[in-house]
């Protein structure tokens, strides 16, 4: 997509993932968690990756960060600043993790050391990257805590992780990420475990961190609402594949893949008065073991045809733009609303009558 000449690396291209596949051997066979994902992230950009559980959205970034278990089978390529990171030694990859990429997980306790105060851990991170005295590092630590919106940062710096609430811990993790001054922040479901009011605070801190460091963001979540408010570009994943990619407005206002459209139709909306019924996507995502040929969404897709069951569609540009969708019939979806495609099934009246009778 970029115009950079071959061989030379485009300095704005932070992360390049090319045909990445990840498989996990299990009792039932190889679970193909990621099946050929390619995308790139440019400087300053914010990219949302949305998908349901088991779609491979987290596994993709864990593979890049070298955080998958040894048994995982990984192929393809992932380049950070033009440098291949798949297959790097643990030591080499953890250096990248510390400097170029910061990761924020759902559970902040996984990234905090319970034995040290948060101020100490923050100051440590500052010291690694700056030639400053311990005192200055501590001052910067308090400053960072303030930046992520922690009240009374001076006192909180002396608290241990377990003494803080979940939302506060997550903000400490974000502050540490800021101290490392990364070029990429990967946030994997950063607010899923938190209450909504706290979630709003944490997302606010994340934005503050981006303003401060200018880092690009990859926000991985299942929550379309969070995606809508915080990213520029969205990748939709389903069954280990990217099925749609585009700007946030493309995805939300003119989705061209039935799955994305179905997701939007399944959402109860707080901003709309109660309408008749939601339009769910029927069925369940396919098992990632022994995937049948064809489009993985075909079994649940109301507009699936024989072609869909035979041939897996590739991610192709629609409308010539950066918007791309993996659907043989994406043109048919122009201007479609969820209700045009998905129908809410109704209960069988006979069955209910049976039930009543037996009572």
């Amino acid at each position: 997509m970029s115009a950079a000449p071959p061989g030379a690396h485009d300095p704005d291209l932070l992360l390049q993932i090319d045909d990445l596949t990840v498989g996990f051997p299990t009792d039932d066979g190889l679970v193909q968690a990621v099946r050929g994902v390619s995308y790139e992230l440019r400087r300053g950009e914010s990219l949302g990756i949305v998908g349901e559980s088991g779609s491979g959205k987290s596994v993709t970034s864990l593979a890049v960060m070298g955080l998958l278990p040894q048994t995982a089978k990984i192929t393809g390529s992932a380049k950070v600043h033009g440098r291949e990171v798949l297959g790097l030694s643990d030591a080499a990859i953890s250096k990248i993790r510390g400097n170029d990429i910061a990761m924020i997980f759902q559970d902040p306790l996984t990234s905090l050391n319970p034995a040290f105060t948060v101020g100490f851990q923050l100051a440590e991170a500052v010291l690694v990257h700056r030639e400053v005295t311990k005192k200055e590092a501590h001052k910067r630590a308090v400053e960072l805590l303030d930046l992520v919106g922690i009240p009374f940062p001076e006192q909180r710096a002396h608290a241990y992780p377990h003494e803080l609430s979940g939302g506060m811990r997550q903000r400490v993790v974000i502050a540490i990420a800021m101290a490392n001054n990364p070029s990429i922040i990967i946030a994997d479901e950063p607010t899923t475990a938190l209450d909504v009011t706290v979630q709003a605070q944490v997302m606010e801190s994340l934005q503050a961190a981006r303003r401060e460091t200018g880092a690009a963001l990859i926000l991985i979540t299942h929550d379309l609402g969070v995606i809508a408010g915080h990213v520029d570009r969205v990748n939709v994943m389903y069954a280990g594949m990217l099925v749609e990619s585009g700007t946030v407005d493309d995805i939300f206002y003119s989705p061209r893949m039935p799955y994305s459209l179905g997701l939007l139709g399944s959402l109860p909306r707080m901003d709309e008065a109660r309408h008749e019924r939601l339009t769910p996507i029927l069925g369940t995502p396919p098992s990632l073991v022994n995937m049948p040929p064809g489009c993985p969404f075909a079994p649940r897709c109301p507009m699936a045809e024989d072609l869909c069951r035979e041939q897996e569609p590739e991610l192709r540009p629609v409308d010539g733009g950066p918007h791309a969708a993996a659907c043989h019939f994406s043109d048919r979806l122009e201007g479609a609303s969820p209700a045009d495609l998905f129908k809410a099934p109704t209960l069988d009246a006979d069955l209910i009558a049976d039930l009543e009778e037996q009572q």
Partner: protein, 345 residues
């Protein structure tokens, strides 16, 4: 809108008066002294009417699930009363309670924890029938019918829960709750653990069952989007108290309590343009410990209005005087001294 969503039957089925529940906090060690009390539910009164869905909303630790369990007498009350069809449940013995249980059922949040992993799906659904001695009377067919009603294949009845996905398990949980043909169902975060595309199907199932079987729902949830979609009336809880209640339309069109306003504005909308422009009311800090709730208004420690708009003398009232739920017209109650309606979505 208010007229269409108002319940058709207006009789109250289940009502709670001044419910209080304190859990003791005990010291560790051999002799467990009581060193404090968690004030989980403080003076909560609710009315669930026939064929209506009452949404009980709040963040974790606000006491909404405890309230639901008190209503079902699954845990004893510290004080207060629960009435079902005019009968007081709080004084009933376990044996006296058993027939009432047929009418009051519950669906749990976690579809992985709420089904006995050692029983087949048919056994799980037959269990309530067996307990009440109804299984011998055509129980097998009934179980098959129930599986079909909730959208599962009866052929799969002899499988174990671990073979089903989250949405399917939740449907099994619904079938089990339906087996005794209850009149009231408490739905405790029934869709929070499910993926979006699966969640919608389960929500629809609840709505259709309600229409067909004249059920009343107490829908406990932290997700205001789901509540707006499914509920007729909503009660918002904060730190063990109901701080605002009204019809769904009243609440979303004119939220009066600062906490409700903050809650509504914190829910992200799946609509990028609206997200960019909407008004936000952010609260600071975390929910205080229910062992030691703040004096006066319990929300004042996080209240944006308290922090930014009130004068010091106004603040004194929040600190000293606990606001009571007062009607602001048409049954829209809120517990704030300085309530002011705001439309946020």
């Amino acid at each position: 809108m208010t007229t269409t969503s108002a319940p058709t039957g207006t009789g109250t089925v289940l009502s709670a008066r001044n419910l209080v529940k304190h859990f003791p906090v005990r010291s560790k060690g051999l002799i467990k002294r009581k060193i404090g009390e968690v004030h989980a539910v403080c003076d909560v009164s609710l009315d669930l009417r026939e064929r209506e869905t009452l949404g009980l909303v709040g963040e974790s630790g606000c006491g909404k699930s405890t309230t639901a369990r008190l209503l079902l007498s699954l845990i004893p009350v510290t004080s207060g009363e629960v009435h079902y069809q005019g009968k007081s449940l709080t004084t009933l013995s376990r044996a006296e309670m058993r027939p009432v249980r047929r009418d009051l059922q519950i669906v749990f949040q976690d579809p992985f924890a709420s089904l006995d992993p050692r029983m087949t799906v048919s056994e799980i659904i037959a269990e309530p029938l067996r307990i009440h001695g109804l299984y011998n009377d055509g129980g097998r067919n009934k179980v098959r019918d129930l599986l079909q009603v909730v959208g599962l294949n009866p052929e799969h009845g002899n499988r174990y829960p671990h073979e089903f996905s989250g949405g399917q398990r939740q449907r099994i949980g619904v079938a089990r709750a339906l087996a005794l043909r209850p009149k009231v169902m408490v739905l405790d975060e029934p869709v929070s653990a499910l993926d979006v595309s699966i969640q919608a199907g389960v929500i629809n199932l609840f709505e259709e069952l309600q229409e067909e079987l004249d059920l009343s729902y107490l829908f406990v949830s932290h997700d205001l989007s789901v509540v707006r979609h499914i509920a007729d009336r909503v009660a918002v809880m904060y730190l063990g108290k109901i701080i605002e209640e009204g019809t769904t339309e009243q609440l979303f069109a004119a939220a009066a309590h600062p906490y409700t306003q903050a809650l509504i504005s914190a829910i992200p909308l799946p609509d990028p343009r609206k997200e960019r422009t909407r008004q936000r009311i952010l609260v600071t800090g975390d929910v205080p410990s229910p062992v030691n709730p703040p004096s006066g208004c319990r929300f004042r420690t996080r209240c944006p209005k308290f922090a930014n708009q009130l004068t010091d003398s106004d603040k004194q009232r929040c600190i000293n005087e606990e606001p009571v739920l007062t009607d602001r017209g048409h049954g829209h109650n809120s517990a704030c001294h300085y309530a002011e309606a705001l439309k946020l979505v």
